[in-house]
Structure formats: structure tokens, C-alpha cells
């Protein structure tokens, strides 16, 4: 990797490895990083003052990675997190795995003990490249100052190219301290690793066009790849021209406007019944930048049996992994759709759209937001009101569990990068740090955390980060006194044996105030809008503790192992719903 030959004008550009690290970040366009200092990374922190980069001091390294992740998801840029060796590095692992499962471009930098003592169980030594091997797209161990810039530049390239993902660069302390010549341009990646199995052939395009032309009941499955590739316009064009309804995955929400007439809503385990029925009845699924995850397919043996499938994705390893497809086009989604679109003819989809409308039936009527105020406070009300109050324009970071699914159902996302959620790994504690990262990336945007009382307690020390960094973001805790999704599963599949599901919490209002954050509690539906307005008008962070119905359930629901159409529907005689 050391291809920088010593030259006569070395003296001009000779920097320490630590300085090279910052200079390379600066060259890559990085303006903000998230991190936490420690012994093996101290040379890096010592050099920070010389560079125009803002460092956000976190309270836990997991938070640093989630912040970098939220930053990347909100902005489309590479997020950068920094930690020391040993425990600093291992604390990053959950964050890195979260980014890996959702294909988020990150560069994580860790300090490492000196290269002379590598492998000796030195103080705070851990084999972090070994530990993160299966949860990074690639990683590096850098032991020489001259390798810092090339490794980092390759890391930035790898993180963003193809299917994005996290890359870790582990830099030994002596490599940070030693000096080397620095030449940003010369450190550019030598080779560009392009997956040789990417294939978009004319016959395959023609076959896809013919399948679309002949389809009677087509459905577009809109995934995260639409947002990652920036293919929003192309997908709208395809849907409108061929009059094809669109179902979104959780991470695809916002990739196709929720308010668009052709948007069906979210598919899968907690998708609305008509969405899943449309997929099961479909004769052609056009999967765009999605991977047929088990949470969207239900049992594979019964999944969309009547449908032929076109799969467009950047990762050849996803083709035929879970669901066999007739046509595979592997490449960048926007580029593939640009090739496909001129060949797609307008078609009449009215009959199929009418059929889907009829499927909606009473599902919409049973919807909790349509019920009159009966004195109870439901999470669905809170989220629906948040959507109305923010005109759907806020960036929402959610945690994992019931509130996450209600958010997906009741907050209508019209624009990409407005929902930040851990879909693949399902990481509790993600929301608060991810929202901080999103706010740093997009200071002009309104940012809300929506978290449960369980997950919020996993990473709530980051409240101090909000205060220290003077961030203006709002927090909604959907507090039902339970690990709600655990309770829901125990209710449905474990005979209401609520083992370890009730969870105590501190008084979140007092907790917030202890951090110096304004806060209020909301117990009735009538208080929701006024308190949300107070939070929005307040200059500075604001936390609202929504004390919602304790034993509410997310409907519809597909039991694990069941078919996509075998949904547990909203009960009309829900004892919680006094009609």
C-alpha cells in the first residue's frame, strides 16, 4: 500500500500519522466526526486542533457509530466515528453491525496499541479487525504512518461504492506518532474493486419490459436501494407510466412519496392487509433495491406464488438468495431504471388498482386514528399527531419495537432520508444517537426522536451530548411501561406470560431536566398537539414523555412462519377500543 515514494520536497508535506489522518478526512470532505478519546488514539486527538473539523464528543462509543450512521442516512455522505483501542473499539461493534445490515457508508477509526506489542495482550489491546471482520464491508490494520492516507482513502471509496457499508481502519499508536510524506492525490485508491458479476444485459432488459407489458397485477417493491441510489424520480416515472402500485419496505419508506396515489404503504410483518394481499395476488413483482428479508416475505414457500419476479439490485449475492426470480438486473438502480424506462410503454392499470382499493375494505375504518377520542392515549394517535403537526416534513429517528412499527404506519414520509431506523439489525438504543447525527448533518431540518421507554434507556446518556453540542432536537418517548413488542409477542405466542416485559423507568421529565433539557409529560390525547407545539416552538431540545396505553398491540401482524396473507387483523372488539 505504500506507494508514496520519498521525494526531495518531503520536508514540506511531512506530517505525523495522526495529522495525515485528519488531513485525509479533510480531503475527503469530512466536516464532522463523532468520537471518544482514549490512550491509543490520543495522538489523533492531540492533532485535531490543527484541522477545521468539528468533533462531537459522545458518551459511549456505540453512540458515536449510531451518530455517524444517522449522519450518513440523513445526508447521504460517509459518516465518521473515532474510538480508542480495546473497550472503545468493542463498544463500536453494535453500531458497526447496525450499519452493515442496513448498508450504511461509514468509516470507523480506532486507535490500536503500538505495532511492536501487537498480539501481546497489551493494555487495552483487542483484535478489532478480527472482531469486526464479519460486520464490516472491509477493514484495515495500519501499522505505518505512510499507510494511513492510502488506507483511509480506500476505506472512503469502499464505504460508498457498490452496496455501501461500514469500513474500519485500525491505526497503531506508533503509526499515529511517526511521520511520513503526505500527498492526498497520490494516496487515491490504486484499484477500483467492481463486482464482476454485475450484469445488465439487453436481453434481460427486454425480458423485464415484456414482463411489465404483459402483467395484469404488477406491484413494485420499493426498498432502501432507491434512496441509496437516488432513484426516486425514476421509480415515480416507472410507477406512473405503467400505472403500477408501489409497496415499500421499512427502509424504503420515503423512497416513494407516501402521499402518491400509487403508494400502497408498507409491506411485511406489520404492513397493512391490502399491501400484503396485493403482493400475494400479484402476477409480477418488480423488486427495486430490496432483498426479500424474512420480515417482508413471511414464509418463503407461500410467498407471492402467482408472481413472476424482476429483481434489480446492486448486490449479485442477493439474487435468488431468498426468492427465485425470473429476471435479474444487477447494477446501480438509477442507472438500470434509466435504461429500462425508455422501453416501458404506458399501460392501463385501472382494473388492478380498483381491485386493491376494494381490498382495503374495513381495514381503514378499523384504523385507530379514525376512532373518536375516548380518553385513552394511543401511540398511534401520538405519531399521527406528530405527522400532522410537522406537516410530515421532520426527520424522524426511531428506535426498535412497537413505536417503530406505529411510526412506519402513521407517519407518512414523502421524502427520502426522512426516516432513520435500524431495519436489519433492529438495534434498540439507536434512535437518540442517530437523531443527533442527523441533526449535525442537517442543522436546518426539524429532527425528532421517537423511542420506546425500553430502548431510550439504553443510550439516554447521549442527552448530555445534545446539551454540550447545543442541538435543537425534540424527543418523543412512547412510554407504555413495557418492552412493548416483547409483551405483544408474549401475548400472542407465549400465552400472555409477560416474563421480563414490564420495565420500570426513571421520571423522564426529571431525567431530561437533570441534563438541562426542557420536558413535559402527556397523558391524554387532548394534550398532544399543544405539547408538540410547545416543543417545536421552544428554542433548544425538548423531551415529551407520552404515557400511552400500556397493553396496546401493533396490528396487523404476521406470525413468524406464517404466509404473508395470514395476518392477525385489528380486532373490531378490541377491549381497549371503546367504540
Amino acid at each position: 500500500m505504500s506507494k508514496q515514494k520519498p521525494t526531495s520536497d518531503d520536508s514540506k508535506t511531512r506530517l505525523t500519522g495522526a495529522e495525515i489522518m485528519w488531513a485525509t478526512l479533510e480531503g475527503e470532505g469530512v466536516r464532522e466526526v463523532f468520537g471518544y478519546p482514549g490512550g491509543a488514539i490520543l495522538p489523533v486527538y492531540d492533532a485535531l486542533r490543527k484541522f477545521p473539523i468539528r468533533h462531537i464528543l459522545v458518551r459511549h462509543e456505540q453512540g458515536a457509530v449510531h451518530m455517524a450512521d444517522g449522519y450518513a442516512r440523513a445526508s447521504g455522505k460517509v459518516g465518521v466515528a473515532i474510538a480508542t483501542s480495546g473497550p472503545g473499539a468493542t463498544n463500536m461493534v453494535t453500531g458497526i453491525a447496525t450499519a452493515m445490515l442496513d448498508s450504511i457508508p461509514l468509516v470507523c477509526i480506532t486507535g490500536q496499541v503500538g505495532s511492536k506489542v501487537l498480539g501481546s495482550d497489551a493494555f487495552q489491546e483487542v483484535d478489532i479487525t478480527g472482531i469486526t471482520l464479519p460486520v464490516t464491508k472491509h477493514n484495515y490494520l495500519v501499522t505505518r504512518a505512510e499507510d494511513v492516507a492510502p488506507a483511509l482513502r480506500e476505506a472512503f471509496h469502499i464505504a460508498q461504492s457498490g452496496r455501501p457499508g461500514p469500513v474500519l481502519v485500525d491505526i497503531t499508536k506508533d503509526a499515529q506518532q511517526a511521520t511520513a510524506a503526505f500527498d492526498f492525490a497520490a494516496a487515491a485508491p490504486e484499484k477500483v474493486h467492481v463486482h464482476p458479476m454485475l450484469s445488465v444485459t439487453q436481453p434481460a432488459i427486454a425480458e423485464a419490459v415484456e414482463l411489465i407489458r404483459a402483467a395484469q397485477r404488477p406491484v413494485i417493491l420499493a426498498g432502501h436501494g432507491i434512496i441509496q441510489s437516488g432513484a426516486m424520480k425514476q421509480v415515480v416515472a416507472l410507477a406512473e407510466r405503467a400505472q403500477i402500485p408501489v409497496a415499500c419496505t421499512l427502509l424504503g419508506l420515503g423512497g416513494f412519496p407516501a402521499s402518491h396515489a400509487l403508494n400502497l404503504g408498507m409491506m411485511g410483518m406489520h404492513g397493512e392487509s391490502w399491501v400484503n394481499h396485493s403482493i400475494q395476488e400479484s402476477d409480477l413483482l418488480i423488486a427495486l433495491g430490496m432483498r426479500f428479508d424474512d420480515r417482508v416475505t413471511g414464509s418463503l414457500s407461500t410467498y407471492a406464488q402467482k408472481a413472476k419476479k424482476i429483481h434489480i439490485d446492486i448486490d449479485p449475492a442477493e439474487i435468488n438468495k431468498n426468492v427465485p426470480v425470473q429476471v435479474a438486473l444487477t447494477g446501480d438502480l438509477a442507472a438500470v431504471l434509466d435504461q429500462l424506462l425508455p422501453l416501458v410503454r404506458p399501460r392501463d392499470g385501472a382494473a388492478w388498482l380498483r381491485t386493491i382499493d376494494r381490498m382495503k375494505g374495513d381495514a381503514a375504518v378499523l384504523d385507530i386514528v379514525n376512532l373518536p377520542d375516548n380518553g385513552h392515549l394511543y401511540a398511534a394517535h401520538v405519531i399521527n399527531d406528530l405527522w400532522r403537526a410537522t406537516s410530515g416534513n421532520a426527520v424522524i429517528a426511531t428506535d426498535v419495537g412497537q413505536h417503530q412499527m406505529w411510526e412506519a404506519q402513521y407517519y407518512k414520509h414523502d421524502s427520502p432520508r426522512s426516516l432513520i431506523t435500524s431495519g436489519g439489525l433492529g438495534t434498540m438504543g439507536f434512535a437518540l444517537p442517530a437523531a443527533i447525527g442527523a441533526k449535525i448533518a442537517c442543522p436546518q431540518k426539524e429532527v425528532w426522536v421517537i423511542a420506546g421507554d425500553g430502548g431510550f434507556q439504553m443510550t439516554c446518556p447521549e442527552l448530555a451530548t445534545i446539551v454540550q453540542e447545543n442541538l435543537d432536537l425534540n424527543i418523543a418517548i412512547i412510554n407504555n411501561g413495557y418492552l412493548g413488542m416483547i409483551r405483544q409477542w408474549q401475548e400472542t405466542f407465549y400465552d400472555k406470560n409477560y416474563q421480563c416485559a414490564p420495565i420500570g423507568s426513571p421520571d423522564f421529565v426529571k431525567l431530561a431536566e437533570a441534563f438541562g433539557i426542557r420536558a413535559a409529560a402527556v397523558r391524554t390525547r387532548s394534550e398532544v398537539m399543544s405539547t408538540v407545539a410547545e416543543a417545536r416552538n421552544h428554542k433548544g431540545p425538548f423531551l415529551i414523555n407520552f404515557l400511552v396505553e400500556q397493553e396496546d398491540t401493533v396490528y396487523p401482524m404476521i406470525a413468524p412462519g406464517s404466509a404473508l396473507h395470514e395476518m392477525i387483523r385489528r380486532p373490531s372488539n378490541n377491549p381497549l377500543v371503546e367504540r
Binding site: G130, L133, P134, H138, H195, D315, A317, N320, K321
Partner: protein
């Protein structure tokens, strides 16, 4: 079914772990792996043999290519190819048994490469079935096999040059050459003793 992959990988620390880790993650056992030099400087050649469902072949190959250090992968099991393995076998001997072991070695075109008072060492190269044939005969004769060291399968496709290999070698002339005709491809005889 048994899959055989040839992978060209960068000759760097940790690359073997990355490749092995991929199979581990998919819960697929690697039956054998050989790694060594190739015609390209800085690039090692691996032959990987693994038992996996037939459909897994595509995913393994596509996943191997996702590793940054993997340069090229070939699913050679699908093509006519030459497969060889080298084995060193140490057999306990007495003055009485020594001569028939020499005979066996001759029949199998194997060589005796070490002779000690109580044992001798046989070096044998060939297909796996040939090596297993020798081991079977040794066992049937109640010769005590003390040690076996097998390299695992190494495989090269017959008459096959990818454009990439030729490009890497700077051989642009052969790039336009026709692929070998079926008649030129000699059948692999698994029981071939040569």
C-alpha cells in the same frame, strides 16, 4: 453437492481468514483448501472444496467477489479440469514387509522418499481416488499407516484461459484465440494411475 472454486486472492495478511470466514458464516464446511503462488505477482491461488447445496454455488461466488481482496473466482466444478493432490504417507515396516510396499508404490507410480529402520515414507501425486486407492490397499495388507499428510485438491481447468489471466500476463495476442474444441478436451479418468 461438492463445489470446487478456484480463487485468486491478494497475498496479504488476513486474506485466508476473510475467505474462510465467509464459508463459516454460511455454515458451510470447507473440505479442503490449498493456497499458494500463481502466475500473477502478489496474487495467491486458492482451490476451495466445499459441500453445499447446488444453488449455493452462485451465492458463494457472488459473496467471494464481495471480499475486497478477492480478484477472481472460478466455479471449476462445472468444467472439464485436471484435479491433483499430493500426499505423504508414512508406513510402519519390517524387513519382511518392505518389499511389497515398494511394489505397491511402483504400481501407483508413487515414490519412496524416506527409508528408516522401522518405517518408510511414500510420496504420491494424483487424483483423490488414486491416493485413496493406495491407502485402501495398504490397509488391506495390514500395513500400519503411521502418518498421512494430504495437500487437498488443486484444480486447473483444461485448455481454459480467461481474458483476464492473459491480460494480466500482458498476452494480448491470445486474447482473440478461439476456445478449445470439445474434441481437444481429454476426458479425466478418475482411476488413471499415471
Amino acid at each position: 453437492m461438492q463445489h470446487t472454486f478456484v480463487a485468486y486472492v491478494e497475498d496479504k495478511p488476513g486474506v485466508l481468514t476473510r475467505v474462510a470466514s465467509l464459508f463459516r458464516r454460511l455454515n458451510i464446511n470447507i473440505s479442503s483448501v490449498t493456497v499458494g503462488g500463481s502466475e500473477r505477482p502478489g496474487i495467491s491461488r486458492m482451490t476451495l472444496v466445499a459441500d453445499a447445496p447446488e444453488a449455493a454455488g452462485h451465492r458463494i461466488m457472488a459473496s467471494l467477489y464481495k471480499l475486497e481482496n478477492v480478484v477472481q473466482v472460478d466455479d471449476v466444478g462445472r468444467f472439464s479440469s485436471v484435479s491433483r493432490e499430493l500426499a505423504l504417507i508414512k508406513v510402519a515396516t519390517t524387513p519382511k514387509t518392505r518389499s511389497h510396499i515398494f511394489e505397491l508404490a511402483n504400481v501407483f507410480r508413487a515414490r519412496v522418499v524416506d527409508l528408516a529402520p522401522g518405517s518408510l515414507m511414500i510420496e504420491i501425486t494424483g487424483s483423490e481416488s488414486k491416493i485413496e486407492g493406495l491407502l485402501q490397499v495398504l490397509n488391506e495388507n495390514e500395513d500400519r499407516v503411521l502418518e498421512i499428510c494430504r495437500t487437498g485438491r488443486m484444480v486447473m481447468r483444461r485448455g481454459h484461459h480467461t481474458s483476464r489471466v492473459l491480460e494480466a500476463l500482458g498476452d494480448t495476442e491470445s486474447l482473440g484465440a478461439k476456445p478449445p474444441q470439445a474434441s481437444e478436451i481429454e476426458e479425466e479418468h478418475e482411476t488413471d494411475l499415471t
